[in-house]
C-alpha cells in the first residue's frame, strides 16, 4: 500500500506542480490568466511525450480485451455523474484513439456482474461496434459483484487461440472492492502469464491486492484513479503499443488489399450482398454501395479493416498500414531554446513570437524554429516535420537512402 502511495505521488507530480506554480501565473496584457495556466498544462503534456519510449520493438497487431466492471459498485457517484457513465464516456474516446493509433489491432469488450462474465463485443477491428455495445449497456442494470476470474477465463478462451506473433492484452476497469471467484484465481493468473497476456488494471475505488498481483505478474500496469482527469491519463497510457514481449514470434502475415468497388465499375457488384450485413434480418444496408472486394474470394465488405468473413484473409487498405509507420520512423525530439528573437514567426503556423513565448523549438534536421503548440501538434498528431517536408535536400536524401537499401 505504501508503495502504491509513492507511485501515485510520482504519477501526479505535475499536478502538485500545478498548485505550487500560482506565483508563476501572471496576468497577460488583457488581464487574463488563461495563458499561463495553459502554459503549465502544455508543459505537462510535453513531458508525457518526452517520456514515451522510442525505437522499442512494437507488436503492433494488438489484441486487447477490455473487461468492464458492471456491478453495483459502478453506480457510485464519486466519479461524475456515476462511475459507469464516466467510464463509458472516457472509453469511447479511448476506443476511437486506440484504433486511430493502432489501425490493424483488434479490441473486444467483456462485462462482469452478478458473479458472471459476459462477452458483449468479440474482437473486432472496427471502433463503432464496441462503442455501440458499450452505449447499449446504459439500458441495463448494475447488480451484484464482479468476477475477475470468470472474466479472465473468458478473455483467455479467445486470446490463447491467436497466432504467436499477435500481442495480447487485457485491460480491466474495476469499480468493486471485491471479486467473486469460483476457484483459485492464482492459477488463472499463472495461465494468463504463461500465455504471455499483458494484464493491466485501472481501479476506480482503491487498490485490490489480487489486481496488483495480476498486473505485476503479467507485466502490466496497475493504478487507482483519483478523478476523471486522472482516469483519462491512465487510459491514454494504453493507447501506445507496449514494447512487445521478447518471446513474441515474428511472422509474415498474409493480407489482402482490396480495391474500392464502385457501383459504376461492374454491374454484378452492385447487387452483391455485403458480408458484414449478410446475417442481419432487415434488408436495409445489405446491398450497400460502395464496398471492398476480397481479392481472394471476392466477397464484399463495406468497411476496412476487416477479417474476410468467408476466407479469413485480413483485409486492410494500404493507407491503414501506413498509419502505423510513424512508430517505425518517429521524428526526433526538438531542441528547446530560449526565445532570443532569432526568428520572428513560427515556421509552421506563422504565429508571431511575442514576449509570452519564452521557449521556442528547433528541429535538429531542418533547423527550423517552431512554437510550443506546433511542437506538440507535430509530435502528437502530425508525425511529420513541416520544416523537413519543405526541405529539398532532406527529401532527396531520403530517395538515395531508399535506393541504397
Amino acid at each position: 500500500m505504501a508503495d502504491d502511495e509513492m507511485e501515485d505521488e510520482k504519477e501526479y507530480r505535475w499536478e502538485s506542480g500545478y498548485e505550487k506554480t500560482w506565483e508563476a501565473i501572471k496576468e497577460d496584457d488583457q488581464g487574463m490568466l488563461e495563458a499561463s495556466v495553459a502554459d503549465i498544462i502544455l508543459k505537462a503534456k510535453r513531458k508525457r511525450q518526452l517520456d514515451r519510449k522510442q525505437g522499442s520493438r512494437l507488436g503492433m497487431m494488438r489484441h486487447m480485451y477490455l473487461i468492464l466492471d458492471c456491478s453495483e459498485s459502478m453506480t457510485n457517484q464519486d466519479l461524475k455523474p456515476t462511475r459507469f457513465l464516466c467510464s463509458i464516456k472516457l472509453l469511447e474516446d479511448f476506443i476511437e484513439e486506440f484504433f486511430y493509433q493502432n489501425p490493424i489491432s483488434q479490441l473486444g469488450v467483456i462485462i462482469t456482474r452478478n458473479k458472471r462474465a459476459e462477452k458483449i463485443t468479440d474482437l473486432t477491428g472496427n471502433p463503432k461496434k464496441p462503442i455501440k455495445d458499450l452505449q447499449a449497456l446504459q439500458q441495463t442494470s448494475f447488480t451484484g459483484e464482479p468476477s475477475l476470474q470468470n472474466s479472465l477465463e473468458l478473455a483467455l478462451k479467445t486470446l490463447k487461440m491467436l497466432p504467436a506473433h499477435a500481442s495480447r492484452e487485457i485491460l480491466v476497469i474495476m469499480g468493486s472492492l471485491t471479486t467473486c471467484d469460483p476457484g483459485d484465481i492464482g492459477e488463472t493468473i499463472q495461465t494468463v502469464k504463461a500465455d504471455g497476456i499483458r494484464c493491466s488494471v485501472i481501479g476506480l475505488a482503491a487498490e485490490l491486492n489480487v489486481c496488483k498481483i495480476l498486473a505485476v505478474n503479467t507485466g502490466g500496469e496497475h493504478g487507482v484513479v483519483l478523478d476523471d482527469k486522472h482516469f483519462k491519463e491512465k487510459l491514454t497510457a494504453h493507447i501506445d503499443p507496449p514494447p512487445a514481449a521478447t518471446r513474441l514470434d515474428a511472422a509474415l502475415v498474409k493480407m489482402g488489399f482490396p480495391h474500392h468497388a464502385l457501383q459504376a465499375s461492374t454491374t454484378e457488384l452492385s447487387v452483391a450482398v455485403c458480408m458484414c450485413h449478410a446475417d442481419q434480418p432487415n434488408e436495409n444496408g445489405r446491398y450497400t454501395n460502395p464496398g471492398y472486394l476480397c481479392p481472394q474470394c471476392f466477397s464484399k465488405h463495406c468497411e476496412l479493416p476487416v477479417e474476410c468473413r468467408s476466407c479469413g484473409l485480413t483485409l486492410v487498405s494500404a493507407p491503414h498500414l501506413a498509419r502505423s509507420y510513424h512508430y517505425l520512423f518517429p521524428i526526433q525530439q526538438f531542441q528547446e531554446l530560449e526565445n532570443q528573437q532569432m526568428q520572428t514567426n513560427c515556421y509552421a503556423c506563422q504565429k508571431r513570437f511575442t514576449d509570452v513565448d519564452k521557449k521556442v523549438y528547433n528541429c535538429g534536421k531542418c533547423k527550423k524554429i517552431f512554437c510550443v503548440d506546433c511542437e506538440i501538434f507535430i509530435h502528437e498528431s502530425l508525425h511529420t516535420c513541416p520544416g523537413c517536408a519543405t526541405n529539398t535536400d532532406l527529401t532527396m536524401q531520403k530517395i538515395s537512402n531508399n535506393k541504397s537499401t
Partner: protein, 293 residues
C-alpha cells in the same frame, strides 16, 4: 452571445515549380484564375477566411495573409480586401520565382505545404473564441507528377486531416495523381483532373471548374451534380519492388509489405521463425452470448 459564428477557412496551395512543362507556359493564367477563385471564396460571406500558399521544389511558403501586408488602397473601386490579396500574392510570387536557385527538380514539396497548412489551421482553432466554429479545407492546384518519396508525409497528413475533419481537395492540371487522390477519398474532398481539350489541358476553363467543383462549401456539395467519384486505388506497393499488389505478406513487427514470403524483414531485420499465413479461425454464426458461470 457569440454562439453560432461559423467561419469557413480555405487554404489554397498553388504549385509554382518551374519544372512543370505546363506551368511555364500558363503560369499567369493559372495564377489569375486562382486569385479570382480566392476572391470568390472571400466574397461568399464576410466571415470567410483565406490563406494562400505556394510550393515548389525548394520549399513552401505562406503568401497571404502576411504580418506586413501593404496598406489597403482602392484600385478602380475594387473591394480593398481583394486588391490587397491580389497585390500581396503577385508580389511575393514574383519575389520567390526571382530568388529561386537555378537547380531544379520535379519534386514539388506539396506535402510540406500541406503540413504547414495543418499547423496553421490548428493555430486558428486554438485562437478562436468560444462558440466560434471554423470549417477548414485545403485545395491543392498542381501540374506536377505524383511523388512516392513523400509517401510517408502524405499519409501522416491525410490521417491528421481526416481526424481533424479537414477536407482536402485536389485539382490536377495535367497528370493523374493516385496519392493525392487517396487523400481526397480519406478526407471526403473532391478530386479533379482537368479535362483535356484537343489533347491539351483545358487551362482557360480552369476557373470555371474551380468555381463549380471546389468553391461550394462541403455541406452544399452533396446537393450539386459533380463529376462521378473516381475509383481510388487502395492497393499497396510492396517494399521490395514498388509494385502494386492486392495480396501480400506483412511483417508482424514493422508492417512492411512484401510480395513474396521471405526469411528476413529488410526493414527491421527481424528473422521470421515461421512464415505461415494467419491461422484461419472459423467464425461462429450463432448469436449466442458466451457465458462463463
Amino acid at each position: 452571445m457569440a454562439t453560432d459564428i461559423e467561419k469557413s477557412l480555405l487554404i489554397i496551395v498553388l504549385d509554382i515549380n518551374p519544372m512543370q512543362k505546363l506551368i511555364k507556359q500558363v503560369i499567369t493564367q493559372v495564377l489569375s484564375s486562382t486569385i479570382v477563385f480566392a476572391n470568390a471564396h472571400l466574397m461568399q460571406r464576410s466571415n470567410n477566411i483565406l490563406a494562400f500558399m505556394s510550393c515548389h521544389d525548394h520549399g513552401a511558403e505562406f503568401l497571404y495573409p502576411k504580418d506586413d501586408m501593404p496598406g489597403v488602397r482602392q484600385y478602380d473601386g475594387q473591394y480593398e480586401k481583394f486588391s490587397q490579396l491580389e497585390h500581396t500574392v503577385r508580389k511575393q510570387i514574383h519575389k520567390i520565382v526571382g530568388e529561386m536557385p537555378m537547380k531544379h527538380s520535379n519534386e514539388t514539396l506539396i506535402s510540406g505545404a500541406l503540413s504547414m497548412g495543418l499547423c496553421y489551421i490548428t493555430r486558428l482553432e486554438r485562437e478562436k473564441y468560444a462558440g466560434e466554429k471554423i470549417n477548414s479545407r485545403m485545395i491543392v492546384i498542381t501540374g506536377s507528377v505524383d511523388s512516392a518519396t513523400q509517401y510517408m508525409h502524405y499519409m501522416n497528413i491525410f490521417f491528421t486531416a481526416q481526424k481533424m475533419g479537414i477536407i482536402l481537395d485536389v485539382c490536377s492540371l495535367e497528370h493523374e495523381l493516385t496519392l493525392l487522390q487517396q487523400g481526397c477519398d480519406l478526407t471526403g474532398g473532391n478530386y479533379l483532373k482537368l479535362p483535356q481539350n484537343n489533347g491539351k489541358p483545358n487551362i482557360p476553363g480552369l476557373l470555371q471548374y474551380l468555381m463549380w467543383i471546389f468553391l461550394p462549401d462541403p455541406a452544399i456539395r452533396s446537393k450539386l451534380v459533380l463529376p462521378p467519384p473516381v475509383k481510388v486505388d487502395y492497393r499497396a506497393a510492396c517494399f521490395c519492388h514498388q509494385e502494386l499488389i492486392d495480396t501480400g505478406y506483412v511483417c508482424s513487427v514493422c508492417l512492411s509489405i512484401f510480395c513474396k514470403i521471405r526469411p528476413i524483414c529488410t526493414t527491421c531485420h527481424t528473422m521470421f521463425k515461421f512464415a505461415v499465413p494467419l491461422a484461419h479461425k472459423p467464425k461462429k454464426r450463432k448469436k449466442a452470448i458466451d457465458m462463463v458461470q
